[in-house]
């Protein structure tokens, strides 16, 4: 019973700067939240795994869409325009049209298949040699195979219109149906990814919010006592906000690791597939920025859902 009445006045409290105070307070709380999570490793692992798998779904779709995009770009470079010339044109005239097209902008190469070449190739490949030989005239037109330097659908259509305006040209075939189809698939995947992301976020709110609600329920007595000795709701909520943030971030990191694993598994077989199509296509992984984004998305969602859940549940505890 020593140290009696010295220093009771309120002015004698040591003054630390507000920022400094906030910093070490948060450090203490963050460490405590982490320790609590680690104290029940199984429950924490299950929650993190659920969050990771939930985040994995939209991330996978994003990757699929991204790879589909680069796949399309790869295929676009081998896009062809077939220009069928009028049937009556001689080989020399066809050659002239070809030479003229060489001078155009926007074309990488122009290859002429004369009507006699076309006939030879056709009879060889289709086994119709005899039928064709019986015809008095060669029914096949000369064809110009063009490789454009652009993959943009609008530019290609403009080019098609220009070509069709030439008097020697009968039909211009732009093989664009599959490009349009792929782009439509890509758009659909994009929309699906966004919708899925919203559902996943709602699910994460429910999962993390419920985890926080249970944590608050487990610490009801402690919260009661804290309130009795003057803790604000914000002070009480702080460790739970860290819990939500830590769970969400850990889920994000785990999702990234799972993605990396899938990428390594699929990498070899996708290269094989690309080789079969004579394509230099490489399966792309998440960029460092998207990886960071995924982790932050997890952490942010965890924090927000903890915020909503803790304020509701803490306010309900009345000493």
């Amino acid at each position: 019973m020593t140290r009696t009445s010295q220093g009771h006045s309120r002015q004698k409290r040591p003054q630390t700067s507000a920022l400094e105070k906030l910093f070490w307070q948060h450090r203490v709380v963050a460490r405590d939240s982490l320790q609590r999570l680690l104290r029940s490793p199984l429950a924490t692992a299950v929650t993190v795994a659920v969050i990771a798998i939930a985040l994995l779904l939209p991330a996978l779709l994003l990757l699929f869409q991204q790879n589909l995009g680069s796949g399309i770009a790869e295929l676009d470079r081998s896009a062809r325009i077939s220009v069928y010339l009028e049937a009556g044109l001689s080989d020399a005239e066809a050659q002239e049209v070809g030479n003229h097209l060489q001078t155009w902008d926007g074309l990488l190469s122009v290859e002429l298949i004369s009507s006699s070449q076309a006939l030879a190739a056709f009879s060889e490949n289709a086994g119709l040699g005899e039928v064709l030989a019986s015809l008095a005239e060669n029914p096949l037109p000369a064809t110009l195979l063009l490789v454009p330097d652009s993959a943009d659908l609008q530019q290609l259509e403009a080019l098609q219109a220009e070509l069709e305006a030439l008097p020697e040209v009968a039909v211009v075939e732009l093989d664009r149906a599959w490009i349009a189809r792929l782009q439509a698939i890509r758009n659909a995947v994009n929309v699906l990814g966004q919708a899925l992301l919203i559902f996943v976020l709602l699910g994460l709110f429910a999962i993390i919010g419920n985890t926080i609600r249970l944590a608050i329920e487990n610490r009801r007595q402690e919260i009661r006592v804290q309130k009795l000795v003057g803790a604000t709701d914000g002070y009480i909520a702080r460790p739970f906000l860290y819990t939500g943030f830590l769970l969400g971030s850990a889920g994000g990191v785990t999702a990234c690791l799972l993605l990396l694993m899938l990428w390594l598994l699929l990498g070899a077989s996708s290269r094989e597939l690309a080789a079969l199509y004579n394509s230099g296509f490489e399966l792309s992984s998440l960029s460092p920025l998207s990886t960071l984004g995924l982790v932050l998305l997890g952490g942010g969602t965890g924090w927000v859902s903890a915020l909503i859940s803790s304020y509701r549940n803490i306010a309900a505890i009345d000493p």
Partner: protein, 221 residues
């Protein structure tokens, strides 16, 4: 410091826990509240701590009217009050020192200053040698003294205590009363609810006697 102005408190069941109670407690005054159990002692303390709101009349603490105190301000109001609860309200998942440190942590004290003040408070109640133990290892009297240390650690302006000497032998009771007197001497107002009439009579402090929610006596015993 504390003023009850015609205060009544009814609970949902209809019975009146307090009816038309008026008194005033000055700065640096120590007051006992006595009466049988159920006479309204705990309700009176709960009203001062803003755990309950009065049904009628005004409770003024340190100049602010608790009936008009917004919910958000209640925590700050409680930080000026050190409360000792009859059931101690200790946390069993942390050490004695950490229990006592709670009000300081909440008020945002630096860990070093917190440790210094916790040791000083535990020293006052004679439990410095048990700071690292967990409350379940302590006797009822020791737990009670941990509660007292927690109530005084933040050097509050008001100390409320519900049966603070209930589990203590006469010698320890006298020690605890000495601690309270030290706080009184530096201007702290104390309200001590007790049915230990022998202690109350012996100490000759102002005593409020409650019976069935009514204040039947206000004076020195």
């Amino acid at each position: 410091m504390i003023k009850f102005d015609d205060v009544s408190k009814h609970y949902a069941g209809g019975q009146a826990a307090l009816s038309r109670v008026s008194f005033e407690i000055a700065r640096g005054e120590m007051v006992f509240v006595t009466g049988h159990s159920g006479a309204g002692k705990s309700t009176l303390l709960k009203l001062i701590l803003a755990m309950e709101k009065s049904s009628a009349g005004q409770v003024l603490v340190n100049g602010s009217n608790l009936n008009r105190l917004p919910r958000k301000k209640i925590p700050y109001h409680r930080r000026d009050i050190g409360a000792v609860f009859q059931d101690h309200q200790l946390l069993f998942d942390r050490s004695v020192a950490d229990n006592v440190a709670l009000p300081l942590q909440i008020a945002g004290f630096h860990p070093q200053e917190t440790r210094r003040r916790v040791r000083a408070a535990l020293d006052k109640v004679g439990l410095l040698n048990k700071e690292k133990l967990f409350p379940e290892r302590l006797s009822g009297g020791e737990q009670q003294r941990v509660g007292i240390a927690r109530a005084v650690v933040n050097r509050p302006q008001i100390i409320l205590a519900d049966e603070p000497t209930g589990n203590l032998d006469p010698e320890l009771s006298a020690d605890v009363m000495k601690v309270f007197e030290q706080f009184k001497s530096v201007g702290v107002s104390l309200v001590l609810a007790s049915h230990d009439l022998s202690l109350v009579k012996q100490l000759k402090y102002r005593t409020l006697t409650l019976s069935e929610g009514k204040l039947i006596r206000d004076g020195r015993s």
